[in-house]
Symmetry: C2
Subunit: 336 residues, 2 copies
């Protein structure tokens, strides 16, 4: 255990793709919990695409990340000391603890996690925010029916890989789009996607046309941009599009233009729905036992790419933005 609390701050707002110099690693004293607080020793940090948006000055759905403050983000760890009646020393918890080794919490937005159900890191992935995102974004927004064709972009990420497997569990034909042959092998050979292709070496429109002979009924979009341009013309009448992420555009210095898609939304009578997992917070309790059940039955698998040490949080984040991870990108902070 480190004697101080190492923290990563946002030092500057990135323009375009972030630089390591946009962040700063600092040391602070390990804080003491006051009445109603507890101290968490962090085991794993999550780095996620949404964090890039929060680094901009403009408010989107949440307030921007403040400069010179600890980078916000989900983390899982152990309660080391508690003066809070609801959280006991030794319990494992998940919450928005930020990019640091130790965090104080008053319990808001924090959930206890069960380390017997799954390794605690899973609560940042398949049993956490990415899992809930996949669950509600697919089942609630797309509502796929057995036999329908579901296409997922960002298919080898934490969310996309879960989406595809949930669609398989629901009897769909699933086609994944990802950026790497190793990713394609994983989602088809290990996860059971019916087909997948590497958008970096194949023409998305041509491949989708070949792999979706009955057209596309549901599209779970993590990336946007030219991949989405290729999907939309292949959508069937009354198709549903779940907009979960648009990572291809998060690092653009200027907004890009593209073909207008609303005419297709009209003639195919599509529903295109943007969503945020937080909208479903009151229903996480519905998703968790389902996801945990599928995990235990072996119907739902996951993979993690784990960087070691808080000093590697920034490079893990940048690597995730470049698509270098397979499955959930984590940063291991300690053996809590």
């Amino acid at each position: 255990m480190s004697p101080t609390n190492q923290q990563v701050l946002l030092a500057a707002r990135p323009t375009g793709f972030p630089n390591p110099t946009d962040f700063r690693l600092v040391e602070a004293p390990i804080p003491e919990p006051a009445d109603g607080q507890f101290l968490v020793g962090i085991a794993y940090l999550s780095v996620d695409p949404y964090m890039r948006g929060r680094m901009n000055a403009a408010r989107s759905y949440a307030d921007p990340q403040k400069l010179d403050e600890v980078m916000g983000g989900g983390a899982v760890g152990k309660v080391l000391a508690s003066r809070h009646p609801g959280f006991a020393e030794g319990e494992y918890v998940v919450g928005m603890f930020g990019w640091q080794q130790y965090a104080l919490s008053d319990g808001r937005g924090v959930m206890q996690v069960d380390p017997r159900l799954a390794p605690i890191s899973a609560y940042l992935g398949v049993l956490g925010m990415p899992g809930f995102t996949a669950y509600f974004g697919l089942l609630d927004v797309c509502a796929p029916r057995p036999g329908e064709t579901v296409v997922v972009s960002g298919a080898a990420g934490a969310v996309g890989s879960t989406v595809g497997q949930i669609a398989k569990i629901h009897g769909c034909r699933v086609v994944g789009i990802a950026g790497g042959d190793d990713k394609i092998r994983w989602i088809t050979e290990d996860l059971g996607f019916d087909a997948a292709f590497n958008y970096k070496t194949e023409s998305p429109y041509q491949k989708l046309k070949e792999l979706c002979p009955a057209g596309i009924d549901c599209y779970f979009d993590n990336v946007g941009g030219s991949i989405t341009d290729a999907v939309l013309p292949l959508m069937n009448t009354s198709g549903r599009v779940s907009i979960c992420g648009q990572i291809s555009m998060y690092n653009l210095e200027k907004p890009e233009t593209g073909p207008r898609l609303f005419p297709l939304v009209l003639v195919r009578t599509l529903k295109v729905q943007g969503f945020l997992v937080f909208q479903y917070a009151s229903r996480y309790g519905e998703a968790l036992p389902k996801l945990a059940g599928w995990l235990q039955e072996g119907k739902l698998k996951y993979r993690e790419t784990v960087a070691e040490g808080i000093e590697n949080a920034v490079s893990a984040f940048l690597g995730m933005l470049r698509g270098e991870n397979i499955g959930k990108q984590l940063v291991k902070i300690s053996d809590q």
Copy 2:
């Protein structure tokens, strides 16, 4: 009454904006109804934006209009002779009778209309397809709540003018976008829109920002393109967009590009839904008494732009595509 049946055929598929030479006026004998058929003497034809799409060779939601055949389209008229048990001579009917003076029908898709409830021409407008389009596209797709701000493009057309009034009836603040000062005067002074502006002389984004100080909750889109680009950034979180038409693009020779809108769909968690009124066919019976009731109470008004004679059907259609009509564009064929 003309001794023959004058008909307008599609002579060539237009490229870009249609030319009068893409159509041909011909004469045919007045047909005789066979068993199970009836003859309609047409009083009014409807010309509608959707017809432009059907003139292209590509299938969209319906099969293309066939070349050298009578232009399809809604019309209202009187049963002149009947060998069909469900339709009696002297009854008024609305159906897809096409651009001609007389039509044979077997009754499929034909409804009797009540001339005591409203002038029969209204069954091509506020009590017909455009009225149902407005009713379901607003209430079912956007589901506006009292106090919400509803923006309508193409606001002085048959659909848009009805949408705005239905939104007012439901307690919304309504802002219309149209292309002409006379249109703006009509929808604000006569129809009770809270505000409106002429997109040809004002900046849509600046005007909308000024006229929608609480943001936009619902957008009923008839036009697409740069007007929609101006609306989307002003949408509130969880806003709803009903895509009814994209007339600004129907006559483009090449698809145009524009700013990508899906990132806004994501961060504002918008629902964007394309719809066709035919999807609601089983519920027309729900809409008709509502629309007729509002009409009789004076809460719903309409206006017609009427061209005279089948020889003017093409120019009426082209004028409608150029936005020259106010309210519903009709062609009067006879005094049936």
